[in-house]
Amino acid sequence: MNSCDTHPTKASCRSMTTEQTRSGTLYTPRVDIVEQAEQLLLIADLPGVRAADVEIKYEKGELAIHGHVAERLSDQSRFVRREYGVGDFHRTFQIGEGIDTQQIEAEMRDGVLTVALPKTPQLRPRTIKVSG
């Protein structure tokens, strides 16, 4: 159960551990999902992730995003105050049928990932000409 879904403003949300892997702790990024006329946008906070270190996979209706975060401090004993953990980000999303999955595009800027999910032509708003 993703507690971020019910309490998105909770302090513990960022540091929520989803999985332990060999490479360390995985964190669930905070996301916004918004709808525009032509597309849906998935916007994820991935602080510390460079564009080259984002991996986006789409397979069988599931979109997975993974952001690799380079370690910034190896000597943990030097911490005076530690309020958040640092590690890779990972989250998956179910994609509905109204999305043209061949046309998914993504952009990374200032630690924010924006994935554009274009609607299939059938779902886009149309203006119907009235004859007569």
């Binding site: 403003t9 006329a37 510390g48 105050r81």
Partner: protein, 143 residues
């Protein structure tokens, strides 16, 4: 006394309510009335202290850093960059103004702060004030 800082960027539509709530709660105290406190990590590198905060989507020009003695203030804002009409299906990312006052373990040189904002991570390298550095004492050893 603030000992634990919760991440409290309220959603923009809750801002006014939150502000009022915090004003009521704080009364005349000197604590910030806006409940907007980004989390920080702070570590000691000997000559320097390093403060780090995750501020994805925050622009350099929307960020202000103030330092005096052993007190450091990070303030700024994050706004939605969406111009087109949008409907939210999910909203977890916190928007609006934020401010955080950090009391450092030692005094720092306010004019020697190195600040970088890379991929949404703010890093502040702070030089400890001269008298606070560990002093090297040469002890003569008799043969």
């Amino acid at each position: 006394m603030l000992t634990r800082y919760d991440w409290q960027w309220p959603f923009s539509q809750l801002r006014r309510e939150m502000d009022r709530l915090f004003d009521d709660f704080n009364g005349n105290s000197s604590e910030p009335s806006r409940g907007v406190l980004p989390a920080i990590n702070l570590w000691d590198e000997g000559e320097r202290l390093v403060v780090e905060a995750e501020l994805p989507g925050v622009k350099k020009e929307d960020l202000e850093i103030l330092a005096a003695g052993n007190e450091l203030t990070i303030r700024g804002k994050r706004n939605h960059s969406l111009s087109e009409k949008t409907a939210y299906h999910r909203q977890e990312r916190l928007m609006g103004e934020f401010a955080r006052v950090i009391t450092l373990p030692v005094e720092i040189n306010a004019d020697q702060i190195e600040a970088t904002l890379t991929d949404g991570v703010l890093t502040l390298r702070l030089t400890k004030a001269e008298q606070k550095k560990p002093r090297k004492i040469t002890v003569g050893v008799k043969e």
